[in-house]
């Protein structure tokens, strides 16, 4: 058995969730190789080489790989595929965009959002907005999987640069798609997908200005910020903060949901958090069914006090 991991190299660095995909590959067993891509890949490659357990790093370097376009990357991975029993990527927008395209070219199925490896062909995953935990067996010759990274340990072990590297290129030129730009929300907060604490705000915040109280609290707790779809739709928070069935999946040690009603589409993205706190003025809000600790109160009354108490510790 051998696994090829397609690493998420957005922003010219290895995504912090790469370790979780490696953990999943280790549970499958066999050799583990990494595929990295980018314009200037020196840092990515040396980082990748120093992860314990990685045998080899395939490197696609060039301007055309500065941004991960599925049309550019697919032929490269398809060429490598016959050497592998498993092809994995994180279930990020990167992995979800790329892997199904590769799989279709190979005539293989994909298992999305794997959260547990039962056997090398058998997995657990959620569906129906987290209401159903399904056990599936994939009968494809090459197992193509996206990994729910919050379900696997992301702690990487470092090793002296031991993995070998090999450059790859493709004859086919992508003339179909072109990267035009990216609008990112600069933030000094921890990454949402690996943070220990997440403070999430919903429509109950009432305005973009009011949402800043979530940021103040997040700052106090060195937490990442999340949001409900309603908060993003209303413009209180950027799209990449959305937690849920169709946003990001998080599983921090502490998740505090503030002014969020707790629709299944939201809880699908946070219910595996270790400790969940809900603050909502409606005692019947479904979020309390998902929470360990609940405070029925007006958030505008309790949050200033909560922040003060944290500052006084």
């Amino acid at each position: 058995m051998a696994t090829l991991i397609i690493a998420d190299c957005e922003n010219n660095q290895l995504a912090p969730t790469t370790g979780s995909v490696i953990s999943a590959a280790q549970e499958i067993g066999g050799d583990i190789d990494l595929f990295v891509s980018g314009h200037d890949t020196n840092d990515i490659v040396s980082n990748a080489q120093s992860i314990a357990g990685v045998r080899k790093v395939w490197v696609a370097e060039g301007e055309e790989y500065a941004h991960p376009l599925a049309e550019s990357l697919t032929p490269l991975v398809v060429n490598l595929a016959p050497q592998y029993t498993h092809i994995l990527a994180s279930a990020s927008t990167f992995g979800k965009n790329l892997l199904p395209r590769i799989a279709a070219v190979l005539d293989m199925a994909v298992v999305s959002d794997v959260c547990k490896i039962i056997a090398p062909h058998v997995y657990e995953r959620y569906c129906y907005a987290g209401n159903i935990l399904a056990t599936v067996k994939n009968h494809s010759a090459i197992q193509v999987l996206t990994i729910r990274t919050t379900a696997f340990s992301h702690a990487e072990k470092k090793a002296p640069s031991s993995a070998s590297t090999e450059s790859i290129s493709s004859d086919s030129i992508n003339e179909q798609s072109r990267f035009m730009g990216i609008e990112t929300h600069q933030s000094d907060r921890p990454d949402l997908t690996i943070a220990n604490t997440v403070i999430a705000g919903g429509r109950g915040l009432g305005s973009k200005e009011n949402f800043s109280i979530i940021e103040t609290l997040a700052h106090k707790l060195n937490a990442a910020i999340g949001a409900s779809r309603a908060a993003v739709d209303a413009g209180y928070a950027p799209n990449d903060w959305q937690v849920g069935q169709t946003g990001k999946v998080v599983a921090p040690k502490l998740y505090i949901a503030i002014g969020i009603s707790g629709a299944i589409q939201h809880t699908a993205g946070m219910k595996d958090s270790q400790v969940i706190v809900a603050i909502n003025k409606d005692a019947d809000a479904p979020i309390f069914q998902a929470a360990d600790y609940g405070l029925v109160a007006d958030l505008f009354k309790v949050l200033p006090q909560f922040i003060e108490l944290l500052a006084a510790r």
Partner: protein, 249 residues
């Protein structure tokens, strides 16, 4: 320009489905079924592109059992011009859906195919990318804005780090995210008009595609339940519990 959209019939998004007692299948008996929300957005977008004068025809395709015709009627009421119903009682997984849509793509030769980004039953998020791979077309997944100029389409994508913009040559495949648009309400006159629109039924066999499922469902379970919530009275008690009981502060 001709646009093909793909719509799936799924349990209504408000429902909480459960496993059957045998834990082998999901209990879908007496469950209210609807058009997949992302597919509704896909059709709405196609119709708006037509209303802007950029497209001349919008086709709505659904694959499944007879009842899927109801969802095609919804698409026709939104404003699609005609429906194609691919009839099968077999289980159709994303790779099979993509192969069927590819067969229809070759027949219809649309300039654009718009799908939902994800079906809310399987939560797969695969079919659009697979179709693009099979057909060798560029893909604009998780779209929150779509504009056209000089034979190309510019797509804004909701990605993990923000909003990415890419430009694709046509024909292309697009998958719709939640913020692409807000679908219109269906009016009675439009529902009536939809009844008269053309809907072709195609037998799956006639398309000659291999739809054998590659993924076998071994079992289904409800996720583990949490202990009931402990209610606290104020911020002081909350900080105390989180510090001394949960030990997360």
């Amino acid at each position: 320009m001709k646009i093909m959209t793909a719509i799936k019939r799924v349990p209504d998004y408000n429902l909480r489905v459960r496993p059957l007692p045998d834990q082998l299948q999901v209990d879908l008996r007496n469950v209210k079924m609807s058009i997949n929300p992302f597919c509704e957005i896909a059709v709405e977008e196609a119709v708006r592109i037509k209303e802007r004068g950029i497209a001349s025809e919008v086709i709505a395709v659904s694959i499944g059992e007879d009842a899927c015709k109801e969802q095609i009627r919804v698409a026709l009421a939104i404003g699609a011009d005609r429906g194609i119903f691919v009839k099968t009682n077999a289980e159709i997984q994303p790779l099979a859906s993509a192969k069927i849509l590819y067969a229809l793509y070759r027949q219809e030769q649309p300039d654009l195919v718009i799908l939902g980004k994800q079906s809310i039953d399987g939560d797969n998020n695969q079919t659009g990318q697979m179709l693009a791979g099979l057909a060798g077309l560029p893909q604009g997944t998780f779209a929150s804005a779509v504009t056209f100029a000089e034979g190309a389409v510019t797509v804004t994508r909701e990605v993990d780090v923000g909003l990415e913009t890419i430009k694709l040559t046509l024909p292309a495949v697009i998958t719709a995210d939640l913020r692409l648009n807000t679908p219109r309400y269906l009016t009675l006159p439009n529902i009536m008009r939809a009844r008269k629109k053309e809907m072709t039924t195609i037998a799956l066999d006639s398309l000659n595609v291999d739809v054998t499922p590659k993924i076998e469902l071994l079992g289904v379970a409800s996720p583990t339940q949490r202990q009931p919530c402990t209610f606290v009275n104020d911020a002081v008690e909350l900080v105390d519990k989180l510090t001394n009981e949960a030990r997360v502060l």
